[in-house]
Assembly symmetry: C2
C-alpha cells in the first residue's frame, strides 16, 4: 500500500496558488486557484441540502455537459454565495469568466467553490483581485492553496500519494464545523495525473464510492451545509494507470486521512471518536444508529467530559428510529481507532460488570472507539466524529463577528 | 379562559409529598409521591425510544389492564432505572409494592417514574426510606413534590387552573436536558378532580392530543430519553365536568405553560425561541422542517451569540429531508413569542433588504420567533426551543460527577 503523505510537493501538470484577496479581515490567505495545464476529466459529489449555494448549482450544471473539459477550480472564503438568488449565480459565472480570461481557456472549463457566511453576496472587486493575484502566482505551493480555503479550520488539510503504478493522487480539504454524513461544509479538491478511465459513469461511481467510505463517514454536529463539494480532476499527465479497482483503493487511501483530519480539526474538538455499529440488520440501519450516536449532543458532551456515561449511547441508539431490543444488545468501548470487544459496558439488557476506573481511563484518552452490537446480525457501519466542547459554542456563537 | 397559576395550592382528593431519601448527595429533595384518596382513571404518554426504562415498561403494562384503578405515583431521581435488565424491573415492582403497603392499596394500583443516570440500579434501601418518609408526610405541599423530581432543572415547574365548570387541573413537570419532540427526559404528572369520561379510549385520545400540542412541541437538543413519561390521573372528586372538548382545552391551557417552562429552564438556556414553519405542504413536513431548525447546533449557537446569522436557518431547513425550493421561500424574525411577518430576511431565493441593526436587536432579545414560509401552501407547525450555550456543555460534560 503506498504511503500517504500529509503534504503535497508537486503534481504533474497542475499548478496552484493561495493568495490574500482581502476577503478575510486578518490578512490571511483567502482565495485559492487550481489549474491544470491541459483539459481534465472531472467529477463531483455535492451537498444533499435542498438549499444549494450558487457555486454548487453552477458546478453541477457544468459537470453535466463538460466533464471531459475542465481546466480550473477557483475557491473563495468569507462568503458562501448561498441564498443569494440570481445575482449569486451571476457572480459565480463572473468569477469563472475572470479565471478563464487570466489562464486562457473557455469560461465553461472553470469550476468554482465558495465557503463562508450564507446570505451575503460575493464582494466582486475583491474576487477579481484574487483571481488576478492567484493567476500571477501559480506554482507548486499546495500548502498556500490549502490554507487559503480554511475558515474555522485551525490547520491546512493536505494529502498525497505516489501509487505503486506510477501515478500521483493529491487532495486538499477544509471542514471544521457543519460536518454531517452525506457531505457538509466541507470542500475538497482531489487531483491526479493518472490516465483514468474515459468512461464518465465509471469515474463518477469511483468518486461516489470513495466519498461514501471517507467524507460521508464523518459527522461533527449533524448539520449539512449548502456548499459541500468534493471535486475530482484527472489530467492524465503521467499516462499511468493500473485498473479501476486499484485506483479506487488508492483514492480511498488518500481520502480517508483527509476526512479524518477534518474530524480531528472539528470546531472545538478535543477527542477523535469512532462509532461502530453492527448487528442492526441492514447496513443502512447500522449506519443510522451510528450516526445518531455520533451527533447526539448528550453523547458528545459526555465524551468531552471524559465521563463513562454510556447510558447516553444506549439512549441515542434507541432514538435512532431503528427497532432495537436492548435484551439483545452489547456495548463496548476501547482506546484508539479500531473497534474491539475490549471493555464491555452493557450486555443483553443490563449493565455489565466492568471496572469504572478502566472505563474512565478509556473515556479520557484522545481517541476512543465505541462498538455497539444490536444482536440482530448483519454488517457493520462506522462514523468518525468528535466531542462537543465549550469551544464549539464559542466558535459558533460569534462566527460572523 | 380560566387563569393558569404557576403554583398549586391543593387538589381535591390528592395528597403529595417531596422528601429527601438520600438519593441526591447535596441533601435536596429527591423522592416524590402523589396519592389519590380514591381510585383514579389514568392514562399515559411514553417515550418513543426503543430503549425504555423499567418504570416506563411497568407503567405501560399496568395502564393496559388497570386504567380505572390507579391510586399513586412514586418518582425517584438520581437513577433512571434504564438499561438495568430484570433487576431493574424487579426494583420498580418493589418500589410500587412498598408504596402500596404504606398507603394501603393493591400493588398494581401504583405507578412509578425514575429520572437520573442511565445504567445504574436503584439504591433500594434509600428508595424504601423515601417511600416511608413520603407516605408519612403526605399533604398539600405540591412545591416539595415538584422540587423532588428536579435533576438539572433550576426551578420547580407547576401549574394549576380552576375551570369555568368547577373542576381543577394541576400538574408538575421536570425537564432541562434531553428534551426532544415526541417526549424526552421529561416527567410530568397531571391530576384532576374532574368527573372525566369513563371511556378510556377518549381519555387516551385527549391526553395524546394535549401532549402533541404542548410537550411534543418542545425541543432542547434533539435527544430523546429512555424515561419520558406524562401521566394523567383523574379521581373525579369534584363530580364536575362539562364535555370532552372543554376539558381538552383546559388541559391544553395547563400543559402549554408547563411545557414552555421546561424550555425556558432548558440546560444552559438563555433565550426562548419559537420556530414556525408554514407552506411546506403537509403539516408533518412543516413540523419536520421546524424541528430540524430547532435542534440544529449551528442555529442554536447563533441564537446564543445574538447574531442574525439567518443563513444557518435556511441551511437547517434545507437539510430537513423535505423537498424545498429556495426560490419560493421567505424568512422572517421577530421579538416575542408570536409569529409575525415582522423583519423579512430572505425572500424568494435571495437575501432581503433589511436593517442589520434591527435584525441584531431582535436576535438579542430574550424571546425570538422565526417564521419560515416554504411557499407551497399548507398548514403551519411550530416548535419551542432554546439556544445552545456554554452552560449546556458544562452541565452535560460532567453530569454524573
Amino acid at each position: 500500500m503506498p504511503d500517504v503523505q500529509p503534504m503535497i510537493e508537486k503534481v504533474n501538470g497542475f499548478k496552484v496558488a493561495g493568495v490574500h484577496a482581502g476577503l478575510k479581515k486578518d490578512g490571511k490567505l483567502d482565495f485559492a486557484l487550481i489549474v491544470s495545464d491541459t483539459l481534465c476529466t472531472a467529477a463531483g459529489v455535492f451537498t444533499t441540502n435542498y438549499v444549494k449555494a450558487a457555486p454548487v448549482l453552477l458546478d453541477m450544471e457544468r459537470l453535466k455537459h463538460n466533464s471531459h473539459r475542465i481546466r480550473a477550480v477557483a475557491i473563495n472564503t468569507a462568503s458562501a454565495n448561498a441564498c443569494t438568488g440570481q445575482q449569486g449565480i451571476d457572480n459565480a459565472l463572473q468569477t469563472a469568466r475572470w479565471v478563464a480570461e487570466e489562464i486562457g481557456c473557455a469560461e465553461d472549463e472553470v469550476l468554482v467553490m465558495s465557503t463562508g457566511v450564507i446570505g451575503t453576496q460575493l464582494p466582486m472587486e475583491k474576487i477579481k483581485h484574487g483571481v488576478q493575484l492567484a493567476a500571477a502566482s501559480l506554482g507548486d505551493n499546495w500548502e498556500a492553496a490549502a490554507r487559503a480555503i480554511m475558515t474555522t479550520d485551525t490547520r491546512p488539510k493536505m494529502a498525497s500519494l505516489m501509487s505503486d503504478y506510477g501515478y500521483q493522487i493529491a487532495g486538499i480539504a477544509k471542514g471544521a464545523g457543519m460536518i454531517a454524513p452525506n457531505m457538509a461544509t466541507m470542500l475538497s479538491v482531489v487531483v491526479t495525473d493518472a490516465a483514468v478511465d474515459d468512461d464518465l459513469g465509471m469515474v463518477n461511481d469511483i468518486l461516489k464510492d470513495v466519498a461514501n467510505g471517507s467524507f460521508n463517514c464523518i459527522a461533527i454536529d449533524g448539520d449539512t451545509s449548502t456548499n459541500d463539494t468534493l471535486l475530482f480532476l484527472a489530467n492524465k499527465a503521467s499516462s499511468k494507470f493500473k485498473n479501476n479497482e486499484t485506483f479506487e483503493k488508492d483514492m480511498g487511501n488518500l481520502c480517508i486521512p483527509l476526512a479524518q483530519e477534518i474530524v480531528r480539526d472539528g470546531e472545538g474538538a478535543t477527542k477523535f471518536i469512532t462509532v461502530v455499529v453492527r448487528g442492526a440488520g441492514r447496513r443502512e440501519a447500522a449506519k443510522q444508529v451510528a450516526n445518531t450516536i455520533a451527533i447526539s449532543p448528550l453523547v458528545k458532551t459526555a465524551f468531552f467530559g471524559g465521563d463513562a456515561n454510556w447510558g447516553r449511547i444506549m439512549m441515542a441508539a434507541g432514538r435512532a428510529g431503528v427497532p432495537l431490543d436492548p435484551a439483545k444488545m452489547r456495548l463496548w468501548i476501547t482506546s484508539g481507532e479500531r473497534s474491539s470487544e475490549d471493555l464491555l459496558l452493557f450486555k443483553y439488557g443490563t449493565v455489565a460488570n466492568y471496572s469504572e476506573a478502566k472505563a474512565t481511563e478509556i473515556m479520557q484518552s484522545s481517541s476512543i472507539t465505541v462498538l455497539l452490537d444490536c444482536g440482530e446480525g448483519g454488517p457493520s457501519a462506522f462514523v468518525w466524529t468528535c466531542d462537543l466542547s465549550h469551544d464549539y459554542v464559542s466558535i459558533n456563537g460569534d462566527y460572523r463577528s
